[in-house]
Amino acid sequence: MKKLIPYWLVSPYILYFCVFVAFPVMFSVVLTFHSWNIISPMKFVGVENYVRLFNDRLFWQAIYNTLRFLVIHIPLQIVVALTLAEFLNQKIRGQAFFRGAFFLPVIVSGVVVTILWQQLLGFNAGILNRALSVLSFPKVAWLEEPAIAMYAIALMATWKNVGLYVILFLVGLQTVPVQYYEAADMEGATHWQKFRYITLPMINPTIFMVVVLSTIGGFSLFIEPYIMTEGGPLNSTLSAVMYIYKQAFQYYHMGYSATLGFCFALLILGVVAIQKRYVEQEM
């Protein structure tokens, strides 16, 4: 009887897992071998979906875009978050104010943020461009120029999330005992040397966690391009998730969409696993 107690406690999770994780995953796997438009019956098509996937230029473009987003977004995020955190991690008046300000976008709904950023990024009326022209810089076609649009999206995603990472880094920084800095003071390290040789290595775990978190988050890039650009211009911001969504909910190619989703999930798990391995090695 006593042995059963743990199982009672985890039973809600098991039930939940079966219904909301295991079933969907299995269902998706089954779907990948079918053609289905939701309202008509499913039709078995063998590996046709997989064949199609390999020839789907747009899907690979979407994967490429997603990776490109990660490559822009993650370093940007880390540099900005770390800089702000490092600045905050000092005797500073108005700590709470700054932390609160940075955290503001995190708590606000993505819907609000996108509505807001549409106003920020407009070419003519956009606040950003108007600020630029006030400072007599040339205006930038943030969302209309294929080479730039992804940067704009990354900027927006960074703006939205960076507050969380500032906090995480701040926590990381504060767990570095002062003694290390004092010891370094005794040995004559400069500000930069202390940051480079003590802070950075010491918050390595935090950095890796931020990388992993924003990788997972970045792979699910969806709402920003969905509302801001619809994947354009010239598909330059079409993210994998968006494409999967489009296949499912615009064309109702459920089977194909599931196939895409399935392969994409494998990719994510692979990347995260590699990262995790790396993290474990580091620590």
Partner: protein, 269 residues
């Protein structure tokens, strides 16, 4: 010198985070003609936009829905998350590691995979257009379980032992003895869950069609992309402000605990 630079940079950064919100609020209070400008203060101050929003969509009802759903779900996440987290952290049983890995797996699983099947599940259960569809799929939160697991693992075994000697059962140990001692984690879980639920727009869009069951973000999304805003920016912004306002107020209210508890809740690993 260094200090001056630091403050300048911080203030600039803070401005870039706050200004858009201020602009949004003041624009939503401006008349349609005044919106174009970059000001901090509303031009031709008016509440027209807000009254228009309320005329066109039942935002009050949506607010109640959102609140109800978020509160109930958060409560359930707390209870269930604590139970599972406790079992994982403090009890030894066969399959414990398996469950732990399942949770990690769930966390990394992209939502697109589960979206359609879950919708079908909702249909099969007849939960479309009901609160169940908004609540049940969210009652388990992997992050909450992990946070609880970590927090429980950090408590001394002796606390549990003492409670056992005093005659507590497992549930009483969890909720009467342990939970009061990991308040930061509880707060973090509450805040993160509540925030996530409050802002969730995609899932309601899929499972809720009935206006009287809609949540606020759903309503506002539909309003701003749909036809009822008549493409009027001020009205859209007003709706967006209404959506952001409750969570902002909660946030301002809790802000001190908020960040401190995030910091001390072990979110760091």
């Amino acid at each position: 010198m260094m200090k001056l630079l630091r403050y300048t940079l911080l203030i600039l950064a803070a401005l870039s985070f706050i200004y858009p919100f201020i602009w949004m609020i003041s624009a939503s209070l401006s008349s349609e003609l005044g919106i174009g400008s970059l000001t901090l203060l509303p031009i031709n101050l008016t509440l027209r936009n807000y009254s228009t929003v309320f005329e066109r969509i039942p935002l009050g009802r949506a607010f109640i829905n959102s609140l109800l759903v978020a509160l109930i779900t958060t409560g359930l996440v707390l209870i269930l998350g604590a139970m599972v987290g406790y079992a994982l952290a403090r009890l030894r049983f066969r399959g414990r590691n398996l469950i732990f890995y399942l949770i990690i797996f769930t966390m990394t699983l992209p939502f697109q995979i589960t979206l359609i099947p879950n919708y079908i599940t909702m249909v099969k259960l007849g939960w479309v257009d009901s609160y169940f569809a908004l609540i049940v799929p969210f009652v388990m939160n992997s992050l909450a379980v992990l946070l609880f697991r970590q927090a429980f693992a950090g408590l001394p075994q002796a606390l549990i032992d003492a409670a056992r000697i005093d005659g507590c059962g497992e549930l009483r140990i969890i909720f009467q003895i342990l939970l009061p001692n990991i308040i930061p984690t509880v707060l973090t879980v509450i805040i993160l869950t509540f925030m996530g639920l409050w802002n969730e727009a995609l899932w309601p869009l899929i499972v809720i069609r009935d206006e009287s069951t809609m949540t606020m973000p759903q309503m506002v999304t539909l309003f701003s992309v749909g036809g009822r805003a008549d493409a009027q920016l001020g009205v859209k912004l007003a709706a967006a402000v209404m959506l952001a306002l409750p969570i902002l107020i909660v946030y301002l209210f809790f802000q001190k605990h908020f960040i401190r508890s995030m910091a001390s809740s072990g979110l760091k690993d």
